[in-house]
Symmetry: C2
Subunit: 144 residues, 2 copies
DNA sequence: ATGTTAGAATTACAAATGTAATCGTAACGG
DNA sequence: CCGTTACGATTACATTTGTAATTCTAACAT
């Protein structure tokens, strides 16, 4: 376990923009971010600096400003935070929760096909039931 | 949007135990929690107090201790945090990320069947593609 | 009744986080 | 060359979070 870097919610907003643009400047980020949320330029600068400090972004001087580029891949970072979440909830409830998310999400036809394929393959080795793992020890009666 | 209560990771550990047991005492929680993580009784008391303060748990005096009971349902709370996560990532990437989670997760045969059913129904109205929504405004070229 | 004591309440405190103002400096314009 | 100024760097600060020690108080035992 490499213990992926911690990106906070506020920082996440910034990362999304950098990921999407590939490379950008603080000014561009500030402009874009202010279209979605109310925040001051100085705030965004702080977030950028922290992201550089924690190794999520790289910088290259360009005139008097910097070019920011992602140092971590978007998909693997998203996978990591999703794993963190689903590893932190009751294992018995993961299926229900996933079902809820799938139900809510906007998914493309290809997304759905891919999920269907993954599920079909999973079915082969799927257990009958998944036990709750919230309370270790056999002396307690699980309600799930 | 009722802006569901914020349960922190440390508090989440406590909630899982209370949810699973239905009702319990601080001592029981402390005993169980110390089987999984290294923590002091006083720490757990603090978490319990904060959870009561934010309306996640109720207390009933019982002798010299308290009975703690969940005031929020486990599944709906899990749904909420899952929604928070998937609403915070790039919409274009939700499908990929879900696929990753499904691939990793331990799912029962019933879980899989339920997901397959949900996906089948979704297919009917699924769009061809899902656009990245990371950068509002049409003047920027999205890399996704 | 009263002392003991188990458990809750209070207090503590460092680190992380969100938010931002101000300071310093180097790049660009003239 | 030198002043302006646009940036990043530094500093600030309240809040939240994790972790816990200490204090207070009311049950329980005698």
């Amino acid at each position: 376990m490499t213990k992926g870097l911690e990106i906070t919610p506020a920082e996440w907003q910034v990362m999304r923009i950098v990921w999407t643009l590939g490379e950008t400047t603080s000014n561009q980020i500030i402009t874009i971010l202010q279209r979605k949320v109310d925040c001051k330029p100085a705030t965004v600068k702080t977030l950028l600096r922290r992201l550089v400090a924690k190794g999520a972004l790289s910088t290259t001087r360009q005139g008097r400003s910097f070019i920011y580029r992602p140092l971590v891949a978007e998909q693997s970072t998203m996978n990591q935070v999703a794993d963190d979440l689903f590893n932190s909830i009751c294992e018995h409830c993961v299926g229900q929760t996933l079902n809820h998310v799938v139900d809510q999400a906007t998914l493309s036809q290809d997304d759905i096909k891919r999920l269907q394929q993954t599920l079909k393959e999973k079915m082969a080795t799927a257990p009958e039931t998944v036990q709750c793992n919230c309370v270790p020890g056999e002396d307690v009666h699980c309600q799930h």
